[in-house]
């Protein structure tokens, strides 16, 4: 039987580490943006209380979840939350999530290439995607963000400077 072999493809520890870090950062940035940015705050206000959503890769890949507590406060729930998210955005493979977080494929492109699935209430999912879009504009330099979203928003100077700084700072130090 010299023609037969078994392959155990294994994992990608470095990629996983990078993605886990990025998800952590984006998660905390969303939490911060909900305080700083009026549009993000409004999107969250329109979502039901105790709403939560998750973003992550299939096959037990890295995950993050965001939720609203009973007071309507937006919280980053980390990777091992016990809550079943109401909206679950799953990227079909860790490779595809890596493409997304190395900005080689934008969210709309990944979606149009059927690399992600969305479960749960679709209109809530739309709000989640809009929130992610705004946060990306805060976190990324303009040339990269322009690739990641369909239309780069025309923002005031304050939004571009002070809010951006605040969100990045809060994401790092976590309040």
């Amino acid at each position: 039987m010299g023609n037969f072999a078994t392959l155990q493809p294994g994992g990608r520890p470095l990629v996983r580490f990078y993605l886990a870090f990025m998800l952590w950062f984006v998660g905390r940035a969303i939490q911060a943006a909900a305080l700083v940015d009026p549009n993000v705050r409004k999107e969250f206000n329109d979502l039901p209380d105790d709403f939560s959503f998750s973003l992550g890769a299939a096959f037990n890949g890295p995950q993050m979840a965001i939720g609203k507590d009973s007071n309507g406060k937006v919280k980053y729930l980390g990777k091992n939350s016990n809550i079943v998210p109401q909206v679950k955005i799953t990227i079909k493979s860790m490779e595809a999530l890596f493409l997304l977080f190395t900005f080689r494929e934008s969210t709309p492109v990944a979606n149009s290439r059927e690399r992600m699935t969305v479960e749960g209430n679709l209109s809530h999912a739309c709000a989640c995607v809009r929130i992610l879009d705004i946060v990306q504009v805060y976190l990324l330099p303009k040339p990269i963000a322009k690739l990641a979203i369909k239309r780069y928003p025309k923002w005031s100077l304050k939004k571009h400077t002070i809010n951006r700084l605040l969100i990045n700072l809060r994401a790092i130090i976590g309040f």
Binding site: V109, N111, V118, L122, C126, R130, R151
Partner: protein
């Protein structure tokens, strides 16, 4: 031809089309080892005498275990559960769904329950919940528009939990779609025109939106060609069998096209007008299509321009300079709408303010537009639209569609980057 970096295409349905192809159903069912079938339909279809044509075509090889016609206009989980019980009780092993979207959604729901042997549909919502082939399902569409005989989704309402359950799986695709010209011969003119414009919109959006791919592109072009070559004739001669078959086929391939490449803002806005004001889907589509193409033109003008070929033919296409083709294509769609409006005595409205209910009341009052825009932000098809749409954008577009004026694209000149358009 545009080849995207990555694309997927899948339609596992066997489509059988022709003037007397219902007669092939028994053989097709036998091949799938079915012996006793259940016909699911609605009252309207039954009253139009269409069920009889189907049952007459079913020969001795296949037994008809039940004919159930109480499918409501919006599929309902209670009906699904009820029909499933009848399916099991009567020992059926396959379903023939005769009708439009809600009949097929209901049949898909019944098929999940009887195949998975479960009594809770809720368990099968969400991606990847179905993992194996269901029992045989044959779809016999009675309108030429939705293309739901080749789509892999179903929506079923659960009034008790006040929820709409959405199902999405390739296993929901019927095994066979039977397009028989006899099934649409009696469709009234205004329904024919609305549903055909729905199909045309599927094709045009599939061709211009983000998930376009080679297969969906050619299906779209062919569908539009079949519609423009046949629709007006059929409205004038409703018994034109050839034309009816052409429209049914167009709806079918447009359905394959959009179910693989998805639709964009015309459907985003259309679904919302439907939800808020209960305007028929096809009416919304025919009114909104020109506006959707106009709004996206700076990004997808080239593709819209290519639609001029199936809309107007090779001569007009080659005579029109490339930069003028997108506008010309949109002009042809507006023109087609106007002709359909004239041919149906105004029952095919060309702007939202002209949409009237049975008593002659305006169905879309202007003050409802903000609510419609708000609803639209929550419609999934917005993802697939080439250009971003926020609340203000949607409201502006709706106002133009309401009055029937052409979209003034200069209103967006500062917001959207019009670079691509200039190079056209």
């Amino acid at each position: 031809m545009h080849l995207p970096e990555y694309y997927e295409f899948c339609c596992t349905v066997k489509t059988v089309a022709g003037h007397d192809v219902l007669e092939s159903i028994p053989e097709l069912l036998s091949k799938m080892n079915s012996k006793k079938t259940m016909i699911i339909t609605d009252k309207g279809v039954e009253l139009a005498g269409l069920v009889k044509i189907v049952t007459d075509a079913i020969s001795e090889n296949i037994e008809i275990g039940a004919i159930e016609s109480d499918v409501p206009p919006d599929s309902d989980v209670r009906v699904v559960n009820n029909l499933s019980k009848i399916y099991v009780k009567n020992g059926c092993d396959s379903i023939i769904a005769v009708g439009g979207g809600s009949v097929l959604d209901t049949a898909k729901g019944v098929n999940i329950i009887v195949s998975e042997n479960s009594d809770d549909l809720m368990k099968f919502t969400g991606a990847g919940a179905l993992k194996r082939k269901l029992r045989p399902l044959v779809a016999v569409p009675t309108t030429s528009g939705t293309g739901s005989e080749v789509t892999s989704v179903a929506v079923i309402a659960d009034p008790e939990r006040n929820k709409k359950m959405a199902f999405s799986s390739l296993y929901l695709l019927p095994d066979i779609a039977v397009l028989d010209s006899r099934m649409t011969l009696t469709l009234p003119d205004f329904l024919t025109s609305q549903t055909a414009m729905d199909a045309l919109t599927h094709a045009a959006e599939a061709y211009t939106c983000l998930s376009k791919n080679p297969v969906s592109d050619i299906h779209a072009i062919n569908a539009i060609k079949l519609i423009t070559e046949n629709l007006l004739n059929v409205i004038k001669n409703p018994t034109d069998k050839e034309g009816r078959l052409a429209l049914a086929t167009a709806a079918n391939i447009a359905g394959m096209s959009f179910s693989n490449s998805m639709v964009g803002m015309v459907h985003t806005l259309g679904h919302s007008i439907g939800a808020v004001c209960h305007v028929p889907h096809g009416t919304c589509m025919s009114i909104l299509l020109p506006y959707g193409l106009e709004y996206n033109m700076h990004k997808t003008g080239e593709y819209t321009g290519e639609l001029l070929y199936p809309l107007a033919g090779d001569k007009v296409y080659s005579k029109t300079p490339k930069s003028k083709r997108p506008e010309k294509a949109i002009e042809y769609i507006r023109d087609l709408n106007q002709k359909l409006c004239d041919a149906t005595d105004g029952r095919h409205p060309v702007c939202l303010k002209d949409v009237l209910d049975r008593d002659g009341n305006m169905m879309v009052p202007e003050d409802k537009l903000p609510e419609i825009a708000k609803t639209a932000l929550g419609d999934g098809s917005i993802f697939y639209n080439p250009e971003e749409l926020d609340f203000d954008d949607i409201l502006k577009v709706l106002k133009f569609a309401w009055s029937g004026e052409k979209l003034d694209r200069s209103l967006w000149i500062h917001k959207n980057s019009f670079k691509n358009q200039e190079s056209l």
